[in-house]
């Protein structure tokens, strides 16, 4: 099966003034459609940097990266936006819901930048909110929701454009363990429904939900294990 994400010798160097820090030092990685992977590693090992590259929020300094068969390196900013919009859903540690919009409006956000915005986008959003049990709160502003509820809303937003790939960077970092389990169950459910899910975490209990664990240390993948 052709991988959804294919990285070959991907490097990322950050430049700060005269200093250049190489954070990713040659990543080779293939993620097949339908996988549920966890990226683990100590703080500062480069997990988020890798995640940002996978999610096309940033581009590699060198190497090759194919997302859904498309070469990412050398793409224009607008093309990256389009790629993210169509293929990737993001879930962040801090939820990042817009405070002045309702939960429903937050979920609809990705459709605003979709050329072929569907007429029934709102129905789809409500359906997603029902799926995560937030239907009754969809007219609320995010600040009236608990952390777990906010993260569930954020997952709905990530799913809104029906992307193949769900990326979650420490999605449970601000949640208690019971709520964290809820969120991870939800992500697992999405994986069962066919989404490719990649989670960044340093918590082994969270990583345990994944079917594959990618360990990264000092900018290189040191160990791979699959259940």
């Amino acid at each position: 099966m052709t991988p959804l994400c294919l990285m070959e010798d991907v490097r990322k160097t950050f430049r700060m003034g005269d200093d250049a820090v190489e954070v990713l030092k040659g990543i080779d990685l293939a993620v097949a459609p339908g996988e549920f992977a966890a990226i683990m590693g100590t703080s500062g090992s480069g997990k988020s940097t890798l995640m940002n590259l996978i999610g096309c929020l940033d581009v590699p300094t060198s190497g090759r990266y194919l997302l859904a068969g498309r070469e990412v390196l050398g793409l224009q900013d607008d093309d990256l936006s389009e790629l993210r919009n169509a293929h990737i859903g993001f879930v962040f540690q801090s939820f990042y819901l817009l405070p002045y919009a309702t939960v429903l409006e937050n979920v609809l956000l990705p459709t605003l930048y979709r050329e072929s915005a569907k007429d029934h986008a709102e129905d789809h959003a409500i359906e997603l909110l029902r799926l995560v049990g937030l239907e009754a709160r969809m007219r609320f502003r995010p600040n009236r929701l608990s952390g777990g509820e906010q993260q569930r809303a954020a997952i709905c937003r990530a799913l809104m454009n029906d992307p193949e790939l769900l990326l979650a960077d420490e999605p449970t970092g601000q949640l208690d363990s019971r709520t964290a389990a809820e969120i991870m169950n939800l992500l697992a459910k999405m994986n069962e429904r066919g989404k490719t899910v990649i989670v960044v975490t340093h918590d082994p209990a969270i990583a345990a939900y994944a079917k594959r664990i990618i360990r990264i240390r000092d900018g290189v993948i040191v160990d791979e294990q699959a259940d």
Partner: protein, 409 residues
């Protein structure tokens, strides 16, 4: 559409955090549009008023006065003591200049007027030709006009102005009565319709009109007239005709190239020029005030937008992450900044309309709505919003989702 509404709602929510600043910026744009609309409408009102005043004097009217007039303005009487315009001049204009549709020479002088025991010391008595009422827009309310025959036979008949009639006759109908003008008994054949004050402020209803020949033979014993009123065939004909009249009269009066005219061709627009100058000054001041207000408004919007972009870094990062392009972000913030200015502009336009209608009513001007003024004001408010939004919206595009995620985890 949905995106615009949602963005607007988010923007309003965010503006709520900067209520005072927003109010100040909106106020700046408000005053800017207000002054533009008021100035635009009042200039138009004044132009209308001037047109009405000129039309009131007579349609397409050119006035030739004997002697030089050195000063124009609302209070310059169109009177000169020089006596070098003749009936012959008037005839020459009528015969040789086709653009002159009607020519009505006129003489005038103040005389005492008496009826029974009532004596009016000095009433302006005008010697006029039969067509003066068409040329100068004087209507006869009652009775009959002065005819060619009245003029040819030098009949002692008079048309009386409303004010004079009231002074001499009170409620009585003057038509058919005889009055003594100077020492000549004249029969009143008609009463003029009310006309009010002229541009110079003189009561045009306090005068008498008698046939020109009667006036020249029996009252002043002269061949000269004070004024020749010429009605041009059309508005476009006015300016060329003025030149033709000047050239013709210079030849007839034997004026050499290096000599000054001994007559004046009055431009009615110049007569009303002083009022227009005052209005021009108001317009300029109003536009300066408008420009200053717009500048303040735009700077206010600029500062708010910078704050807003800063406050909404996370929002921008998330929008970029879910797929908005840079130009979507630019468009969003330009729309927000022009929304602020247009909302100020809309209130300013409404207030400006009301205010200019009120001012026109107080000044007794015809009220006029200047579409150009409204469009300018609207364009200026949109433009100030967009201009003020350019820098903040470009700044917004430098916000990268990666930086947001990194700073907040």
């Amino acid at each position: 559409m949905k995106r615009t509404l949602l963005n607007l709602k988010i923007a309003l929510g965010s503006l709520g955090n900067f209520k005072l600043r927003t109010a100040l910026a909106v106020l700046g744009v408000f005053f800017g549009t207000l002054s533009l609309v008021v100035v635009g409408n009042l200039s138009d009102s004044l132009a209308l008023k001037t047109e009405q005043e000129i039309a009131n004097l007579g349609n397409n009217l050119i006035i030739v006065v004997s002697g030089q007039i050195h000063r124009y303005g609302p209070n310059t009487p169109l009177i000169s003591r020089a006596t070098n315009l003749t009936l012959g001049d008037a005839e020459a204009i009528a015969i040789s200049l086709p653009a002159a549709a009607r020519v009505s020479p006129s003489g005038f002088k103040a005389f005492p007027v008496r009826r029974g025991n009532t004596v009016l010391k000095a009433i302006a008595v005008n010697g006029v030709t039969p067509d003066f009422s068409e040329v100068r827009n004087f209507e006869i309310a009652e009775g009959s006009p002065i005819t060619e025959e009245d003029d040819r036979l030098q009949r002692k008949v008079a048309l009386i102005g409303r004010t004079t009639a009231e002074k001499l006759f009170g409620e009585e109908n003057p038509v058919g009565k005889t009055i003594l003008i100077w020492r000549v008994p004249c029969q009143i054949i008609g009463v003029m319709a009310e006309k009010g004050a002229d541009i110079a402020g003189n009561d045009q209803d306090n005068q008498l009109f008698i046939p020109l020949k009667t006036f020249l033979r029996n009252f002043v014993n002269l061949e000269n007239v004070n004024i020749i009123y010429v009605q041009a065939a059309s508005v476009e004909a006015i300016d060329p005709l003025r030149g033709e009249i000047e050239a013709l009269l210079r030849v007839r009066h034997g004026i050499r190239k290096d000599m000054k005219d001994d007559f004046s061709v009055v431009d009615l627009k110049e007569v009303t020029a002083l009022k227009s100058q005052a209005m021009d000054l108001i317009s300029v001041l109003g536009r300066i005030a408008a420009a200053a207000s717009f500048l303040i408004g735009a700077l206010g919007i600029l500062s708010i937008m910078i704050l807003i972009v800063n406050e909404r870094r996370v929002e921008i990062g998330i929008r970029r992450a879910v797929g908005s392009r840079k130009r979507d972000i630019i468009l969003q913030f330009l729309m927000e900044s022009s929304f602020i200015s247009v909302s100020g502009g809309a209130i300013g336009m409404a207030a400006g309309l009301l205010m200019s209608l009120a001012i026109a009513r107080v000044l007794g001007y015809p009220s006029s709505i200047s579409v150009r003024g409204l469009l300018t004001a609207f364009a200026a408010s949109v433009a100030s919003g967009i201009l003020a939004g350019i820098y903040p919206s470009l700044k917004a595009t430098t916000i990268h989702p990666v930086d947001i995620i990194r700073s907040k985890g």
